[in-house]
């Protein structure tokens, strides 16, 4: 595989752009930071499948495409299966000698938002991973159905206000905890599973390159700060992402072969969870006195998760 150097940003910046501008994603959208970096960190031919969602409706609106590679969108739920089919066809045609570029390296990638990954496309993704197709699935996780105006998904965190789990006078909003897709995918047979965030660009690029180089199914949960639905200023996307990773709300770690857990980022100064929550409109109501307990529970839960991850890493099991 042809790797673009990501040793430092100066070297990485010599990569040739493969994700074009004038797509329709919101100003400041983290989706495009993630997608651009994935496409720029490899020279290989990519066959990309996308679920319905913000990324899909913004990057291939006839008569325009923002994609410099082959790309397909079928439905809300089936990008992983489209990638499966493409990968199967590649294998069949390679064996038969009917490929036009038989020696060209190719990687199969699927994108989905958290709605299509955690909810409606869960079965399709799980099936494709179980079957062992050689592809990388990247969830652009903004914890809400942003494309349709902010409905809760099973990735929406406790205490967040969404249109279908709104906060109000007597409710603090979302009651369910975010689904643990990392563990689920590791247990489903993904060879490599990692959580990344665009503010840690180098880790993200390294994880992308590792997953593209890994034979078999890989799952990347990419935290995608959404200025529109998280309600922050578009210029602050990277700042909010910094708060997410430094408060350990989004710990960056990987699980290799379903069991070997490595923490990829340890903040020098761990910041309080309430600093992260307070930076976004979706959690604003939690700072009212009657919902103070939710803030406390948040910190306790994040501490417990960090403790668990560190013990899993140390145990080497």
């Amino acid at each position: 595989m042809a790797i673009t150097s990501v040793k430092n940003l100066k070297e990485f910046s010599t990569a040739n752009e493969r994700f074009e501008g004038a797509h329709l994603l919101c100003p400041g959208c983290a989706h495009s930071m993630i997608v651009r970096e994935l496409m720029n960190c490899s020279d290989d031919n990519l066959v990309i499948a996308a679920n319905t969602g913000c990324l899909e409706v913004s990057t291939a609106v006839y008569p325009y495409t923002a994609w410099d590679t082959s790309w397909i969108h079928i439905g809300f739920e089936n990008a992983a299966t489209a990638a499966s089919g493409a990968e199967a066809m590649y294998k069949a045609r390679k064996r038969k000698g009917t490929l036009k570029n038989p020696d060209a390296p190719v990687k199969f990638v699927a994108f989905g938002g958290d709605g299509s990954t955690y909810d409606i496309g869960f079965q399709w993704l799980n099936g494709a991973v179980e079957r062992g197709h050689d592809f990388t699935y990247i969830c652009l996780d903004n914890e809400v159905y942003a494309n349709t105006g902010g409905q809760r998904s099973s990735s929406t965190p406790i205490g967040s206000s969404s249109t279908t789990a709104p906060a109000g006078r007597v409710s603090y909003g979302e009651k369910q905890n975010k689904k643990d897709m990392m563990s689920i995918m590791a247990a489903s047979g993904a060879k490599y599973v990692a959580q990344v965030s665009p503010n840690k660009w180098k880790n993200m690029a390294q994880v992308f390159q590792k997953s593209l180089a890994t034979e078999g199914p890989c799952y990347i949960n990419a935290i995608s700060a959404c200025c529109t639905e998280w309600k922050f200023d578009p210029k602050d996307t990277i700042h909010i992402s910094d708060l997410a990773t430094d408060s350990l709300v989004f710990p960056l770690y990987e699980i290799v072969d379903g069991h070997e857990l490595n923490i990829n980022y340890r903040p020098k100064n761990i910041i309080p969870v309430r600093d992260y929550l307070g930076s976004q409109g979706r959690f604003k109501h939690l700072f009212k006195p009657q919902f103070e307990h939710v803030l406390n529970e948040w910190q306790t839960r994040v501490d417990a998760q960090w403790d668990y991850l560190q013990r899993r890493e140390a145990a080497r099991v």
Binding site: K10, S13, T14, R18, G21, P63, W67, W201, K202, T237
Partner: protein
């Protein structure tokens, strides 16, 4: 390759979205497919944008400049070419060549302001101004170094 040469690329940012010619049913593409290039694109990942032959279907040829109400202005004199703005630009609008930041692609920039926020220099090498502001005047009135500036964390 100078910024002027890159920006003068005749293909880039030519059309407002929605302003494309509305052809009839007999001229739309079979199966709604879109081909991004008009030439053998086998090596496209190893070619610079300005050396490619995009088709009219690539959004590279379109512009979203009209979305913008504020715009970033770039001050070359202060820039340290850290490439923070390049890696985090969501709109492929920071033009860097040979590890040097050259400037901004105003046809694709939506004015989100991320590049300014992630700029680590003091004063910043990128600042947001009104879309109508005059570039030369902005540069002439560029702020001086702040004494107790809080550094943006970088990798």
């Amino acid at each position: 390759m100078s910024l002027e040469n890159i920006l003068s690329n005749a293909q880039r940012g030519q059309r407002e979205l929605g302003a494309e010619k509305k052809v009839g049913w007999d001229e739309v593409t079979q199966g709604v497919v879109i081909n991004a290039f008009e030439y053998d694109a086998t090596n496209v990942s190893r070619e610079l944008s300005e050396d490619r032959k995009y088709s009219d279907f690539s959004s590279y040829t379109a512009t979203v400049a009209s979305w913008r109400i504020i715009k970033p202005i770039y001050n070359r004199d202060i820039c340290i070419d850290c490439q923070n703005c390049w890696v985090w630009c969501p709109d492929t609008s920071i033009i860097s060549r040979d590890k040097q930041m050259l400037g901004i692609d105003y046809d694709h920039c939506k004015g989100c302001g991320v590049c300014v926020e992630v700029c680590p220099t003091n004063p910043k090498s990128l600042l947001m101004f009104a879309e109508t502001a005059d570039g030369e005047e902005c540069l002439a009135g560029w702020p001086v170094k702040e004494k107790k500036a809080k550094e943006t964390e970088t990798e």
